[in-house]
């Protein structure tokens, strides 16, 4: 199963767990699995349009441009990080 690193400020929802494994063939499915296990985390990651614009998803070390549509493998490692913003 994909391995998800939980952002520090969301660990209140995971009982302090930093790294979890949840099923999902895409980031969207993986977040749905996270939500089943840790209710409330989906709202923190997503708004009505998808992944919140100030959050990036990093899959296997690379910022995903497909975001929720990003395909995952069994060995994928996923991080959610604050998006780089312009200071503009």
């Amino acid at each position: 199963m994909p391995t998800v690193w939980i952002p520090a400020l969301m660990r209140d929802l995971t009982g302090g767990e930093e790294v979890v494994q949840v099923p999902g063939q895409t980031v969207r499915q993986m977040i749905e699995s996270l939500e089943e296990r840790f209710p409330g985390i989906q709202d923190r990651l997503c708004d009505q349009d998808g992944l919140r614009p100030n959050i990036n998803v990093i899959v296997d070390g690379e910022v995903s441009h497909h975001r929720l549509r990003q395909a995952l493998s069994e060995n994928s490692e996923i991080h959610f990080l604050p998006a780089i913003s312009g200071g503009n």
Binding site: W5, L9, I55, G61, S64, L81, P82, I84, G86
Partner: protein, 768 residues
């Protein structure tokens, strides 16, 4: 990801030992050099159009004030005035993040920064604009606009702004903690946290623990060319903008969002640019010039800022408060590290706290850490990106503390860093594993450099070192190329050329095709002539647009192989191409020979490429500096400076060296002199280059550079971005040198003569 290939796939076929490169690593003369040294290059202020009007901006004299009323009637009827603009002329866009990476903006805030709505949020905030038949009339008319303000107490200091009782700048702003939105309005925009391991256990294992506080001042990029924009809003609804920008597409998209018109109605023509360093990504004048053109009956309107306006009204980078606590064991291994960073965003959200939290412990492998970062609004100009945004502040704090720890351990400061380097597979503070980085190689190169071992005799002299880290950025780039019948290639790229990227991009196309650099004719396109390309920022252009050029080369090569095969009546698989020569069996055609046959053998040959590579690879720099401090005046003189940096592959070494030297020069200014000075009412007291003290050639020695090349596996030629990281280490390196010279630890930037004297006097109160 680039089209069709993954980084790991292209690596095998493209990254070669240095000796095999024909073009990369050479130092050709830049294609735009002649025009620039002869003064013929055209900048935004050179634009002259028939019937052109001149715009000027009325700016708030107050740092924080509600706009109660505005009367523009006298200005409107003033002879020569053709249009007057207020916020009533601007649509009110909804919240939306436009753009990517360092180029991203919140359109609603951007609009309110371009022209204030109900509140002026800093001295210099644009309030209204006028277009007139000449600039003098425009300025006179500004004085006829009557604005009634209700003055509100300003908040200028980042820590004061974070207090619950602080005056609120934006009443609808609530703190965002990774999706958890606080119920109460606040000046704190967002909170970022990186946390790994067991901090308490890590500090318990430490033999030495150092905790210090640091403050840094608001500083400006100091580009020489002020912002400018000329707009022509045609009666057919087509808008053309000529401006000085780091990214034409970013201007197009921001103007479209602010004015709420389709991007297809806007053409942005980027002129040559006299520096940007992050400060020319967001728009200021462009929407105003466009609306003034519309309101004046479709006459072109030109607007240029004075340098006073540049300093007071465009985006500097954040002042900051940083607290760092680091522990290390007796073997020199860091056992725990903790940081708190509060960055002042200026009047609207967007301080580069992401940069600060990434950089602060960036190049080190640390298992137990906690980093908290805060983006905070204050009554100063909205900050913009500035070369490794947020990184210099953070490195000043961390690298100073590391120096103090290495001293306490009795360990060489470079050796101490070497014992803590992050290696491939180690985890960054945010948990993501590092790819291949050249930190150890860069530290070793610094330790072996003659400068590090050179004697430094004399009193009040000291040598300091510091390292710097920067994540770099990839982003979207496009380019097109067409083969000319004389065997040259016309290359159109979407990246504005600030530091020599016409050359560095053309060189990668030449290398891919086995041609000479002079066979490539590069030019920068406007938004109607080339595909979408993000701005020249994030150290991304040679990396990403260079990758697009590589893709062009691959595509052109294949098309030309097919044409040669067609001419010879062969299958393309039978044609071989190497170093500009097509061969098959006994037949042979050079690139130029084949080019002459294109017109008579089929359709023209051209290619386009779009890429969005994601493995940009971080940058590392290690700096060594010698200083002499005058204990009577507090003046710090830089005696010698050496900057060592991993460039991945230095495509054009002279331009890599230039980027390093430029970054160091700006870092020295940040370290020793530059700061925005305000009174307690938020009035900027040094808004001119006479009083805002940029370094000059008299302040700087020759800055020596040493390029280390640890290829980035995420690029066909191993390229890493080089432009930003050289500004990261200088303040820390200089602070550490000052400590060696005087025995005092500096914790505030700039380390101006007054602050040096204060530190000396604090160390020895009987001195004065």
């Amino acid at each position: 990801m680039a089209t069709g290939m993954h980084a790991d796939e292209v690596q095998d076929q493209a990254v070669k030992p240095e000796m095999e490169y024909q073009v990369l690593g050479t130092r050709p003369i830049r294609p735009d050099g002649t025009d620039k040294v002869t003064g013929r290059a055209l900048y935004g202020a050179d634009i002259r159009l028939p019937g052109m009007l001149y715009g000027a901006v009325l700016r708030s004299p107050h740092a924080h004030a509600r706009i109660i009323a505005m009367d523009t009637r006298r200005a409107q009827v003033f002879p020569g005035v053709r249009a007057v603009l207020t916020c009533d002329d601007l649509p009110e866009p909804e919240r939306k993040i436009e753009g990517h990476g360092e180029g991203s903006v919140d359109v609603q805030y951007q609009s309110a920064n371009v022209l204030a709505r109900d509140k002026a949020l800093y001295q210099g905030h644009a309030i209204a604009a006028v277009a007139a038949t000449n600039p003098h009339i425009a300025k006179e008319a500004l004085a006829l606009i009557k604005v009634t303000y209700e003055i509100i107490p300003p908040v200028l200091d980042v820590r004061q702004a974070m207090q619950a009782e602080a005056p609120l700048l934006l009443e609808n702003l609530h703190t965002d903690e990774m999706g958890r939105i606080d119920d109460h309005p606040s000046n704190i925009v967002s909170h970022v946290r990186h946390q790994r391991g067991d901090l308490q256990k890590g500090f318990q294992e430490a033999a030495v623990i150092v905790e210090r506080e640091f403050t840094t001042s608001t500083v400006h990029q100091g580009y020489i060319e002020p912002q400018n924009a000329t707009a022509l809003y045609n009666p057919d609804g087509q808008l053309t903008i000529w401006c000085s920008t780091q990214g034409a597409f970013g201007v197009r998209d921001q103007v479209a969002d602010i004015l709420q018109i389709p991007v297809s109605k806007i053409k942005v023509i980027p002129m040559e640019i006299g520096g940007g360093f992050g400060g020319k990504i967001g728009v200021y004048l462009e929407p105003l010039a466009a609306l003034l053109s519309l309101k004046s009956g479709h006459q072109p309107v030109k607007m240029t800022m004075s340098y006073d306006e540049v300093l007071a009204s465009t985006g500097p980078t954040s002042a900051s408060y940083i607290r760092v606590k680091i522990g290390a064991n007796s073997e020199g291994r860091i056992t725990a590290a903790e940081a708190y960073l509060a960055y002042a965003a200026g009047a609207f959200p967007g301080a580069p706290i992401w940069g600060g939290t990434n950089v602060i412990f960036g190049p080190y492998g640390i298992d137990n850490l906690l980093i908290d970062g805060y983006d905070v609004v204050v009554n100063k100009p909205k900050t913009a990106a500035y070369r490794a945004p947020g990184g210099t502040n953070a490195a000043f704090a961390c690298e100073t503390v590391l120096d103090e720890i290495s001293e306490a351990l009795g360990m060489d400061p470079l050796e101490f860093r070497l014992r803590n380097v992050a290696k491939e597979g180690d985890r960054r503070a945010d948990g993501v594993p590092y790819g291949r980085i050249g930190f150890a190689e860069t530290l070793e190169a610094a330790r072996s450099h003659p400068h590090y071992a050179a004697p430094l005799p004399g009193s009040h002299r000291g040598r300091g070192v510091a390292a710097g880290f920067w994540t770099n950025y990839g982003g979207k780039s496009s380019a097109t190329a067409s083969v000319n019948p004389d065997g040259t290639i016309s290359l159109v790229e979407g990246s504005v050329d600030i530091g020599g990227t016409r050359a560095s991009i053309a060189m990668q196309l030449a290398e891919t095709l086995g041609l000479s650099f002079t066979d490539i004719r590069p030019q920068v396109g406007d938004t109607d002539t080339v595909g979408y390309t993000e701005g020249t920022y994030g150290s991304r252009t040679t990396f990403a647009t260079g990758w697009a050029a590589y893709e062009l080369g691959i595509s052109l090569r294949q098309k030309l192989i097919e044409r040669a095969a067609d001419l010879w009546g062969l299958d393309p698989d039978q044609v071989h191409y190497e170093k500009g020569v097509f061969t098959a069996n006994e037949q042979r055609l050079t690139f130029k020979q084949l080019a002459t046959k294109l017109h008579d053998s089929g359709s023209p040959i051209m290619a386009s490429a779009t890429v969005q590579p994601g493995r940009e690879g971080p940058a590392i720099g290690v700096h060594i500096v010698d200083v002499e401090v005058d204990p009577e005046t507090g003046k710090v003189q830089i005696l010698r400076y050496t900057a060592i940096q991993d460039a991945g592959k230095a495509v054009h070494p002279s331009y890599v060296e230039g980027q390093i030297q430029g970054g160091v020069a700006q870092g020295v200014g940040w370290a020793l002199n530059e700061e925005y000075i305000y009174d307690d009412q938020g009035h900027l007291l040094n808004a001119s280059l006479l009083d805002y003290r940029l370094p000059t050639c008299l302040d700087l020695p020759m800055i020596d550079t040493l390029i280390v090349e640890v290829p980035n596996p995420g690029h066909p030629y191993g390229v890493r971005g080089v432009g930003e990281v050289p500004i990261v280490p200088p303040p820390a390196a200089i602070a550490n040198a000052i400590h060696q010279a005087l025995g005092v630890r500096m914790s505030t930037l700039p380390m101006s003569p007054a602050r040096i004297l204060e530190a000396i006097w604090a160390q020895n109160p009987s001195t004065p």
